[in-house]
């Protein structure tokens, strides 16, 4: 390996915007693999991406009825994501997880644990937390402090590669 690669690790930045199962899965695969390759990984989580950051067991987060309605319509938690296509009332994700088990593909939750073990930095978007009425205690442990668009843009422009998912 070159001296340059040794002294300066590659950086990637993922903007996790979508909340469905497949994009969440893709983000987690990219982030965990990049961290395994000794890259510095930041994930900025915004809008529907927050569905993957709320604790699996947290029901109906939100401060008012509108925010709680959003949680009713889309149960948050990384293990409860719906497919963007062919969800069929939960039948689609169920089949997807059966296939994942059969072919030894790890689930988004396991990859998220791996990301945290490998030091991936996850930045929640403060604005989305306000909009959805989310508190720090609604979210999984080990996150960075919430930040805004300016920090995300700094992370993105300083990264060698940026993904908007």
């Amino acid at each position: 390996m070159t001296a340059e690669a040794a002294s300066k690790p590659k950086k990637i930045c993922i903007i996790a915007y979508s909340g469905e199962l497949e994009p969440t899965w893709a983000s987690m695969i990219i982030a965990s693999t990049a961290a395994a390759m000794d890259m510095e990984v930041s994930i900025f989580v915004t809008f529907w991406g927050f569905h993957a950051l709320v604790k699996d067991r947290r029901r109906l987060p939100g401060q008012n009825w509108m925010q709680k309605m959003l949680s009713v319509m889309q149960r948050p938690g990384i293990s409860h994501r719906k497919l963007s296509k062919m969800n069929f009332m939960g039948m689609g994700p169920w089949m997807m997880f059966q296939l994942a088990k059969k072919y030894n593909v790890s689930k988004p939750k396991d990859l998220l644990d791996m990301c945290q073990e490998l030091g991936v930095k996850i930045y929640p978007c403060q604005m989305t937390m306000d909009l959805f009425g989310l508190k720090k205690e609604d979210l999984i442990d080990g996150l960075e402090d919430p930040v805004g668009a300016a920090t995300m843009l700094q992370l993105a422009t300083e990264a060698d590669s940026t993904f908007f998912i």
Partner: protein, 78 residues
């Protein structure tokens, strides 16, 4: 290379992307610099993936072969 030089064996058979790489990463972190790890995988994509992983991390891919649908990698921790 003598088999006894291998400090850690990781069996990633049957596992899909990116698990062989993630298991290898977990494994190599338990070794000291210069020690050897052997990984066996069945994922055909792992052949190129291990080369990319080694080049990115600086761990040396010192041996590589395949037989009967199994891919074997020997990695030296940097």
């Amino acid at each position: 290379m003598a088999t006894q030089d291998i400090k850690l064996k990781v069996d990633a058979s049957g596992l899909s992307c990116p698990l062989p790489i993630l298991k290898a990463t977990q494994g190599i972190k338990t070794l000291q610099s210069g020690e050897l790890m052997e990984v066996v995988a069945t994922d055909p994509g792992s052949v190129k993936d291990f080369a990319a992983w080694a080049s990115s991390t600086g761990n040396a891919l010192v041996e590589q072969d395949s037989a009967n649908g199994k891919f074997r990698f020997v990695v030296r921790r940097k």
